[in-house]
Amino acid sequence: MVTYDVKDISPDASFLEMLDVLNEKLILDGDDPIAFDHDCREGICGMCSMVIDGVAHGPEKATTTCQLHMRHFSDGDVIDVEPWRAAAFPVIKDLVVDRTAFDKIIQAGGYITAPTGAAPEAHATPVPKKDADLAFEAATCIGCGACVAACPNGSSMLFTAAKVAHLGLMPQGQPERDTRVIDMLQAQDDAGFGGCTNMGECAQVCPKGIPLHLIGRLNSDYRKALRNKG
């Protein structure tokens, strides 16, 4: 770990803006800037990915790093910043990790097969309100990988569970419901993620508050899928 001094940080600066200030100084000094992932900076893209003082996305609940503000720290604090640490997320540089493993899980079944074309009429397929709400809650997952970073087992169960639930709750997701859960779990294992032991760390750090009980839904879907497969 390298220690940097950062001065004159506004309490209203976001954590990433603090890193911007530091990087500008490093560049002016002729040093290498710190590499970190970022894109939208409004908490919806899932790019920013750093473990701040041992907690993925830092100390604020349900907050991405870009939405974390420096007012939550005190002047003079030493803040430890680390990348996601998981075999499935190799570090590219500094705080940037390769999250292709998540794409592999999505490619294995995180989609519905439907003819494309004009958007269908919204009321053509009725969806019970309860299912729609839960599916939407699951669909708020931005795939940042904080769940993996926080999991003592390095498991991506919450991510996979969110995707399986979000599609499995929709009528459009039913034809592939069984193959989806089997294939996505297989892809998760193949990518080198650990196994879930229901510690619940993932849901604690999830910036989108994906509920832990979706993992139970995944387990239930998996059991039914295996039974249907025979």
Binding site: M1, V51, G192, G195, G216, N219
Partner: protein, 210 residues
């Protein structure tokens, strides 16, 4: 993990109920121990049922350990580089100590079998005189046995507090309310088992079983 664990918890309940028979006196307790050998009779010869049960339990224990080992190994492989700064995880003490707690419980079970089944380590050690075996085992002068027993039973309690609700989740429990019910039930069941098991050695210490 879930299925083998639930099998073992069911056994823990039956075992506890058997243990509590010690409060009905030496004759009842010894008679109960003898009856265990005659379950299934006359369909099965004496002692056969007990061996079948031991076989099932051994299978469950081995299965449980194999699954736990695979999970622990995968966890290690999934994070080859550890965090430099890692605060204690928020999960309960029970959840954090599942692996080492499990090892302690295994060592205890081995000791417990040598102590009260094969009687090799028992101070009285007479087959059939179960009541006296237990009473002398937990005699005040052998306080260290009682201490080890107490710590092990508490470890079992912690193990079940996380293990039971985790098993329910693995088997498909999937609502927030159900999660709360599962967690509370796991806690209550763990406390009942710990109290039930610890009542025996402490009754010996208090002179209620003599």
């Amino acid at each position: 993990m879930a299925v083998t664990g639930i099998l073992l918890v069911l056994f823990l309940f039956v075992h506890m109920i058997g243990n509590l028979k010690i409060f009905f006196g030496a004759e009842t307790f010894d008679h109960y121990a003898h009856w265990l050998r005659t379950i299934g009779s006359p369909l099965l010869p004496d002692g056969w049922y007990l061996w079948i049960q031991r076989g099932v339990l051994t299978f469950a224990v081995v299965g449980h350990i194999v699954a736990a080992t695979i999970l622990a190994k995968r966890a290690r492989q999934a994070r080859p580089v550890k965090y430099a700064h890692r605060p204690k995880v928020q999960a309960s003490y029970a959840a954090r100590t599942m692996r080492w707690g499990g090892v302690i419980i295994l060592l205890f079970v081995i000791y417990h079998i040598l102590d009260l089944t094969t009687l090799n380590l028992n101070p009285h050690g007479v087959h059939g005189e179960v009541y006296r075996n237990v009473a002398e085992d937990f005699a005040p002068s052998r306080w260290y046995v009682t201490l080890f027993y107490t710590l092990s039973i508490v470890a079992v309690g912690f193990h079940l507090r996380h293990g039971l609700w985790s098993a329910v989740r693995t088997l498909g429990q999937q609502t927030a309310k159900g999660e709360w019910i599962a967690r509370v039930s796991a806690l209550v069941i763990s406390v009942v088992l710990v109290v039930g098991y610890l009542s025996v050695p402490f009754a010996v210490l208090a002179g209620l079983v003599d």
